[in-house]
Symmetry: C2
Subunit: 359 residues, 2 copies
DNA sequence: CTGAGGTATGTGTTCGAGCACATTTTTTGT
DNA sequence: ACAAAAAATGTGCTCGAACACATACCTCAG
């Protein structure tokens, strides 16, 4: 009955098996498992004992088949047509859609303008109208995100966030990186390749509301310098994208002792372009993210290292965590901190190649 | 019928739906889908047309429930009690077991002595006796592995390999890293942190049969030097673990111009220990794998970088690829080349932390 | 002592795919 | 033209969990 003799393996116990063992019907077992009541104390005790004894695990395949529900998920992120950083999210969503093509899962993407609160609020309301089972969002605007997340929670929508974290106990799951560590890593890399010297920490195009996101990285950078006996020192600057060229060049002129540049976001290529244009050599440059333009400068050695935040993997994990939660009641860690990848010109391709020879 | 109006979403088409659309019974649709024959040309064409039209995707949950089979997998790897490198595989297997605890999957682990062909052959035969559905193995001995893989294939056992690759067209799936790239990465790192100087490439405990494994890395290392206008140069050495101390010290004495050491396997800590014991400073050390002992020396800066081969993730992927293949007929790339992670003392923790706060 | 009203327990159907078996239709040979 | 064989098609049950519904059991009031 419970043994498959050909393979000499135990097959999993089913509700029917348990019913027989306990001398009751499968209906009663079901009521005990789901604590639906309407069960005598004796029956409850008997069945519970057996469940514990055999360490019963329900067949999730069967459960899911019965549930047979269409799950709707919404992705609420900054418009990837406006900032290349978010473009990889598009691929991440595509991967998930492909992987779960055979299941009844619908994913709707809503893009907001990452610097426009109104667009964020408008798209949030569209999400509410769609009445999804879950939402995966980037909480760009701290205060507004908090309000919206509470609204979602009130509608019994499960909310996960990624990229940057905010504190709200309604959040199901966060996927991202430890930004302080991220900054420390940059400092360590400068320490290793320079040994000593002054490094400029740069914010570019920093009219973002979530400046905390960048501050954390700088905090980590400084913390490393403070906690080790390194001969590295740092200074912090903010540039708008518009006046970058003139401001940056005059900064370099006034600070000839600068040995390295740490750009705290994906706009690293902008600095690289300036260095190349003005033939500035011997400045080490470390920045973020595998945008096409960054990759070009990494390959020709204007950029020494890129720290990979892997937005694609973040959104992928955020979505699959939600799906597995709905489909198989899988538990996931509340905080999902991803590895921080150090990329140089040589290991780059091992991160960017998609799929290798199916046949 | 096909629309769930509450959510205004299309539900997936079922075999029954297709049968109605084509004006045949679900049995006929089934025969068309599985190309079992016994279908008239007209019916075949009609059903095929509709299948293509609606892009039918079978419900894998239902398919799997019906199949309802216990899948047995064997893991055939070097004994992780004898070489710490393989220890992380134990955790990888554990993760997979936990993740698939609710499914009828049995995983049996067989450990062979990584330097003893006879033990490898004996364990291989034990695998054959177990008649598993699939095997995930490390093909330590090239010739013997090839033979065994053919034997497995003859018994209709699906074979995947990981860690190191061999050419055999019966292999279902390979998971590992590009070793040539791996060597290039080490060279690039020396290039960045040294700028110039001579580097010793070391094989330690190299009475392995699969020396190709290490040769590839050296090949990559040299290739980098050759392809760039770097001022780095290299020399290659082999040490046994027994005479390491005396041989290594005399090598250093005779070669005072050595600026860096590249250990091509996880025995990096042995070199680190010697450097510390004899107070040798100013030698940059790069090696492989996050063994406890390596980590200690990475943290106190005797080792500058470790390249992470992530055996745990390799075995995890190898196993899940097999399981998803059996359970959901999922296709996987034949070659699964994993990213090559560069680890220093600062991003280390982002790779080693397991799970973060479930509650 | 009987039936209402509650609780406890059992039964039967559903989900979608897959496959064995039953039934119908077509083809073939005499 | 008709039976027999072959091919095509249809039917119905199974997998395990979930849940609606049916039935059995018990208690207490009238």
């Amino acid at each position: 009955m419970f043994f498959c003799y050909i393979y000499r393996m135990k097959k999993k116990y089913t509700i029917k098996d348990i019913a027989e063992l306990a001398g009751v019907s499968k209906g009663t077992v079901d009521r005990v498992i789901h604590k639906r009541g309407k069960v005598s104390e004796k029956a409850f005790a008997d069945v519970s004992r057996i469940l514990a004894e055999i360490d019963y695990k329900p067949n999730l395949i069967a459960r899911n088949l019965k549930n047979n529900k269409i799950y709707t998920l919404c992705v609420l992120i900054p418009d990837y047509n406006l900032d290349q950083y978010w473009l990889s999210c598009k691929e991440g969503i595509k991967s998930v859609k492909q992987e779960y093509a055979s299941f009844d899962i619908v994913i709707k993407t809503l893009l907001y303008h990452s610097k426009d609160v109104d667009s964020f609020l408008q798209k949030s309301n569209e999400v509410l109208d769609l009445k999804p089972d879950g939402v995966l969002m980037v909480p760009s605007f701290q205060k507004e995100s908090d309000t919206i997340i509470n609204l979602f929670a009130n509608q019994n929508i499960v909310v996960s966030i990624f990229n940057n974290n905010i504190t709200n106990d309604k959040i199901f799951n966060f996927v991202g990186q430890d930004l302080i560590k991220s900054g420390r890593i940059a400092a360590k890399l400068f320490d290793l390749i320079l040994g000593e010297g002054k490094i400029a920490v740069l914010y570019i195009g920093a009219n973002y509301k979530n400046a905390t996101y960048f501050h954390e990285k700088e905090k980590g950078f400084r913390a490393y310098i403070k906690s080790t006996q390194t001969k590295i020192s740092s200074t912090t600057l903010t540039f708008s994208t518009e006046n970058l060229e003139s401001e940056f060049l005059s900064f370099l002129k006034n600070n000839p002792d600068i040995k390295g540049l740490f750009v705290t976001n994906s706009k690293t290529y902008m600095v690289a372009e300036l260095l190349e244009k003005h033939h500035i050599k011997n400045l080490k440059l470390i920045g973020y993210d595998l945008l096409d333009k960054n990759i070009t400068h990494l390959k020709n050695n204007t950029i020494q290292f890129l720290i990979h935040q892997n937005a694609k993997h973040q959104i992928y994990l955020g979505l699959t965590n939600l799906i597995e939660h709905f489909m198989f009641s899988k538990t996931t860690p509340k905080n999902n901190l991803l590895p921080i990848n150090i990329i140089n010109s040589e290991n780059l391709s091992s991160y960017t190649q998609k799929e290798i020879s199916y046949s």
